[in-house]
Subunit: 359 residues, 2 copies
DNA sequence: CGATGTCATGACATCGGTGTCATGGTTAGC
DNA sequence: GCTAACCATGACACCGATGTCATGACATCG
């Protein structure tokens, strides 16, 4: 492989001049420049980033770790796989800034993390990103002060900068949209209790009700999923059953995610209820293979993994740039747009909503 | 950051001896070794792979490109995203061999590929992997002879080593399973004509019929999907309609993939047909969020992306190891297991199948 | 016209490891 | 007891870039 010396010799200049042409850090005469560029082309010269890294102490690399890290309950999402969107988002932004992404997956074994970090540090990554499979709390082994790290889709106790989905705001937006469509009795089939997203979304649900002067009825919120997938469906069936038997039956159901919504479709269908005429349904995630293809297509809210990736990279780049931690909260929340399809029916409101004379 | 010289000084030995402890390339006295290891720990020394790469000319890096590359029709799979499984599979195997994965996504723009390759070459990657979104033919810009490259989920005209799914064998297996369950009139709602997988699977379908002495009826094979997603559903509806109106109506339907199967479920349901009692259905891909959660759960065949990733890495490692291209065909096919769930009904065969006296 | 500044370029050291070769001390073999 | 073989270690050059400083050729200015 040709070196900068070969190029220099071929162009009849010094290596340093070739370097100047490549990096543009000092003026070079046009003729000289042309000669150098020609030599580069002829020799098919490709600079060595290893040599450059050594001299300049900047590798241009960013490390990313995906896969399990917490020792919490294994809540596998065999098809969720938000990771790829986060990876793509982060990679694309980093590429714009000339950074290359090193990636490594734990393969589900948290004990491998220190090794991965060691490898990344050997490559002198300028920053690290850790991506969790779902919104959760993690605890990472400590890394030297020098290498900034940003958490994506998770956060920790140590105040590490993090980017997470705005589960509370998302659910609030979703419920607000239902209220705007005239719904007031809104059931909520939640994710498993062990998930942080579950609590945040219930908060968002409550807050939307409150802002609209609707009383919160605990009977309407049912923990519908189990961390154990084996009994998932039966549990969901039972939950729907309980909600439908309520005296003042809800006109709309929020589901923990689109997958659950798909199963709720089936349950409602088997019970002879038509969506959205008899009851409206919304999901969460905008998992398009489901939301676009079920019938009626599902109204939901986008869980913006791509944006989380971009935002994470953005935060990391800023830290790499030496920006001291700003006063800003270390946990950044990202919200996604409503995606309103055909699973919600507009209703006439029985009473004038409080919202109408609020704004 | 501590260097090997700092460690040497702290341990009272020469840098070269530290190097020997790290690499184990020559015997080192136990006492000396302990002193060196202690110094390494005390100083929190992490070797620089840039320096190592420079001297040894081996970077330990493998580059991977994902995203669009062909200029063919944009057949987007918004939710398919096999890439992540391929990435994971490849990364895990590479990690076992001490290789680190550099990853870059084209962001859908094939014209960026040369830049990505340039970047990878600057990092002196020891090998390259290109991952396509779906089984297709691609054409990559030429790279120097030195860096081996393997294609995953695609192939080219130039005879580059490649790993692709065994679409023909998979469909044959699937149809054979239907035949084993007593079906003989088997409809096939295929993927869009533009896809290579479509033709291969039709081949597999025919071959299974032939092996069982069942006459191929072209009316049973309907190109059910369009590359244009806008009219996708109407087209599918029409295709199912056409097949159901056939004089000798099929007892089972093969669908191009699980997503299509999910829509076929809905169509059959609306027509008052029950699965699997009135008609059996199988998919393709084992896209679990669908296949496990529709009702009845879908019998299908796994499209083994993880295995493709592993096999690709395996092939690449062999090439990196200097193994001259063996006589083996450069295109390697990978097949996945049947996943038999509840969407197929066993039938009594009207006539003794030819298979029974064949083996 | 000499002093000063700017432009274009080169010489040389250096980043942090490892390959090569040399060296001194032990042990084995005859 | 002398040589050969081996073990453990160090000196030194080198991988391929770039930062620093120096230098010669011109242009500018008072």
């Amino acid at each position: 492989m040709a070196t900068i010396y070969d190029v220099a010799k071929a162009a009849g200049v010094s290596p340093k001049t070739v370097s100047r042409v490549l990096n543009g850090d000092a003026p070079v005469n046009q003729k000289t420049r042309d000669a150098v560029l020609k030599a580069i082309g002829d020799l098919n010269y490709i600079p060595s980033s290893a040599a450059r890294t050594m001299r300049s102490q900047r590798s241009g690399l960013v490390g990313m770790i995906t896969g399990a890290i917490s020792t919490g309950p294994e809540w596998s999402s065999p098809a969720g796989l938000p990771e790829i969107f986060i990876v793509q988002g982060a990679q694309r932004l980093l590429a714009e800034y000339g950074k290359t992404l090193l990636i490594s997956d734990t393969g589900g074994r948290a004990d491998r993390v220190p090794n991965l970090i060691q490898t990344f540090l050997e490559h002198r990554v300028e920053g690290l990103i850790y991506v969790a499979e779902y919104h959760q709390k993690v605890s990472l082994p400590v890394i030297g002060r020098n290498t900034p790290i940003v958490l994506a889709n998770c956060f920790d106790d140590a105040g590490t900068p993090a980017v997470v989905p705005d589960d509370m705001g998302g659910q609030r937006t979703l419920v607000q949209a239902l209220i705007d469509d005239g719904h007031e009795r809104i059931g909520f089939l939640t994710l498993p209790d062990s998930l942080i997203a579950r609590d945040l979304r219930v908060e968002g649900y409550k807050s939307a009700l409150e802002e609209n002067g609707i009383r919160f009825d605990p009977d309407l919120v049912v923990s519908a999923a189990l961390a154990d997938p084996a009994h998932e469906f039966d549990r969901l069936w039972d939950s729907v059953d309980r909600i439908l038997r309520l005296k003042d039956r809800p006109t709309a159901l929020c589901c923990g995610n689109d997958k659950m919504a798909m199963q709720v479709y089936r349950i409602l269908h088997e019970r002879g209820l038509s969506i959205p005429d008899d009851i409206s349904v919304v999901g969460y995630d905008d998992y398009r293979i489901i939301s676009e293809h079920v019938y009626p297509s599902l109204s939901t809210i986008d869980l913006p993994y791509g944006t989380i990736g971009i935002r994470t990279a953005e935060t990391l780049l800023r830290l790499m740039d030496g920006a001291a931690r700003t006063g800003k909260a270390p946990v950044d929340t990202v919200s996604g747009p409503l995606v309103w399809r055909n699973s919600v029916k507009k209703r006439d409101r029985k009473v004038t909503s409080i919202t109408q004379w609020r704004s």
